[in-house]
């Protein structure tokens, strides 16, 4: 089978161990990410893994593309250590504050500049936003078909593949042809961790950094200004209840609780 050009879209997300330190910019209502370590959004590592496995099976090239501030190169270095061949970062203040539509448009424009591709892979949803919208939207801007929630990819022949897409309580088996965009879920594979060789390889590799001008995007369609949605308001959710504290020895607490639940009329009939 012929080698494939694969592109994996990866997103820098704030490391979830530091989520309590995140804050919102009161003016733009966007996330302040300064000082918070970033990682590759977990499902995007599954997408990288799948691309690497396909490359191992039939040859080809794996390029990762991301969008974000300059420090996003950290996650691209990680991708190099995993074994990807090339990396592109779309980085420009003009890209900042993008919603999913503007993000997908920017990424698709970057992909077009990279050039020929057979397969686009992405994580089904990001750790932070979790919208799952960017994959299908990138595909739309590239005018190629897309399948989401993919947990299995098999090539039937050179250009035809069968993918299994998770649905409620089951799956759909879908046949499609290259080029196609596939958004993958966690159980598709077990992502590798970088080897010593990979880490050495990464030190030799440098990600390309492209500005909005380099990519040649329509400036009205990127960043905060090019985003149809915005966040006019954020509020703290009050989910407060009585919070009555029960104390004492475990057996005593259990007795108290049963009494209270009986009084509340919620004790199940057992």
């Amino acid at each position: 089978m012929r080698p494939l050009n694969m592109i994996v879209c990866i997103k820098p997300v704030p490391d979830s161990r530091y989520w309590d330190k995140l804050s919102l910019d009161p003016k733009t209502k966007t996330l302040r990410r300064e000082g918070i370590p970033i990682v590759i959004s977990p499902l995007d590592t599954n997408a990288i893994e799948e691309a690497l496995r396909i490359r191992e099976a039939r040859g080809g090239k794996v390029t990762v593309i991301s969008m974000g501030p300059a420090n996003t190169v950290e996650i691209l270095a990680w991708a190099f250590a995993l074994g990807v061949d090339d990396a592109v970062l779309l980085t420009d203040r003009a890209f900042a504050g993008a919603d999913t539509l503007a993000t997908a448009y920017s990424l698709a424009s970057g992909i077009k500049k990279i050039g020929e591709f057979d397969l686009i892979l992405l994580g089904n949803e990001s750790l932070d936003g979790s919208t799952g919208q960017v994959g299908p939207q990138v595909a739309e801007f590239l005018n190629i078909p897309s399948v989401t929630s993919v947990n299995k990819i098999d090539f039937v022949n050179e250009d035809t593949l069968r993918v299994r897409s998770k649905i409620e309580h089951g799956y759909m088996l879908i046949e499609t042809r290259l080029p196609v965009a596939l958004a993958v879920v966690k159980e598709i594979n077990e992502p590798r961790i970088p080897s010593v060789f990979g880490a050495l390889w990464a030190t030799e590799k440098v990600a390309k950094q492209w500005s909005a001008g380099d990519v040649g995007v329509d400036k009205d369609r990127i960043g905060l200004g090019g985003s149809p949605t915005y966040v006019p308001d954020v509020s703290n959710i009050e989910l407060q209840r009585r919070g009555e504290v029960l104390k004492g020895e475990p057996a005593e607490i259990a007795r108290q609780l049963v009494e209270k639940l009986r009084a509340d009329g919620v004790l199940p009939e057992i």
């Binding site: 595909a139 739309e140 078909p145 149809p228 915005y230 989910l239 919070g243 057992i270």
Partner: protein, 334 residues
């Protein structure tokens, strides 16, 4: 874009094998309220093959108008077949708002449609409203903190949103009648770049978590598969079901599709919810807020779930859960 030209509220009426999904009826109910508030029409958009009889049901649940696109090519959902049909429909009739259930289908379809018509889409909404200007406000919990973001789409139409199944109440049936409009489908099999080889779906044999009257849920703090068994035993004694947070599912202690509670999982409404080893980030809490009574067990008195609980037990679950099992067993004997 002249946004004044866009009028009416649309709801995507998702059907599988000729049966409407509950989430479509839930958003019809909410769509009805918004349409009434705006003084505009509520329309359902129904795609499939031999689905015309469903139009009556959509009317009964609130639709003034039902657009029906009926063709063999639309029998089973495929993005490539559905999205161009809906794109054409939007361009012709110009709705102001378009709501879609956040099912596997909806989450696949909505973003592509939004990109086709170049508009904004809010994902996984848990509430909807309109502001003074008549613009849609979609409520989306954000950033794993205790924050609710209100998302607006002021200058693009239609304003699109996907809504999590189970978050809105299914409305009562009425005897409303709707105008049915049949849409000519121009798409043919040749235009569709994906083929469905097989659809496999099996209703779970266990009672879905959404219907459980008692739920024992665990989070990352449970620590091991071994400890998780304690929760299963407690649930068994209570005749209840076991739920989980996302991290607990990620650890492999619970099955995400069946057991994950929260914004991107299930919304539960039990009489009694007992949560152990759960800190209580908003994504989880939002899925349990309709529980009648919430009991939280956590060593950390300051964990967010403690405030959101009716009863907060500040202790190690490894001591409390066995004590509860004992106490409930005593009840059983009585």
């Amino acid at each position: 874009m002249q946004i004044d030209m866009y009028k009416g509220v649309w709801v995507f009426a998702e059907q599988r094998e000729g049966k409407l999904l509950d989430v479509s009826l839930e958003i019809l109910g909410e769509g009805r309220k918004i349409a009434d508030k705006l003084g505009q029409e509520l329309a359902a958009v129904l795609l499939g093959h031999k689905v015309a009889p469903l139009a009556e049901e959509l009317a009964a649940y609130g639709a003034d108008r039902v657009y029906v696109a009926d063709a063999p090519v639309l029998k089973v959902y495929r993005n490539d077949a559905y999205s161009p049909v809906i794109e054409a429909l939007i361009n012709r009739h110009k709705p102001a708002i378009f709501l879609i259930g956040g099912t596997s289908t909806g989450m696949d379809l909505a973003p592509r449609v939004a990109a086709k018509v170049n508009t904004g889409l809010s994902a996984h909404c848990v509430g909807l409203g309109v502001d003074e200007g008549g613009c849609l406000r979609a409520q989306v919990p954000a950033f794993g903190g205790s924050i609710m973001a209100s998302i607006a789409c002021p200058k693009h139409r239609p304003q699109m949103a996907t809504v999590r199944p189970g978050f809105l109440k299914k409305p009562e049936k009425t005897n409303r009648k709707a105008v049915v409009e049949n849409i000519k489908v121009d798409i043919t099999e040749k235009d569709v770049r994906t083929k469905v080889i097989e659809v496999f779906s099996e209703e779970p044999t266990t009672k879905p978590l959404e219907q459980a009257e008692t739920i024992v849920a665990g989070g990352y703090g449970i620590g091991s598969k071994e400890n998780w068994k304690m929760l299963e035993e407690l649930a068994a004694v209570l005749g209840g079901s076991v739920g989980a947070t996302r991290p607990a599912c990620d650890e492999g202690w619970a099955v995400q599709e069946e057991q994950m509670i929260g914004q991107s999982g299930k919304t539960v409404r039990p009489n009694l919810y007992i949560g152990a080893g759960i800190s209580g980030i908003i994504h989880h809490l939002i899925g349990i807020q309709d529980s009648k009574v919430i009991v939280a067990i956590n060593r950390d008195a300051g964990a967010p779930i403690m405030k959101a609980a009716d009863y907060a037990i500040v202790a190690d679950f490894r001591q409390i859960v066995p004590a509860l099992i004992e106490e409930f067993k005593k009840l059983k004997k009585q």
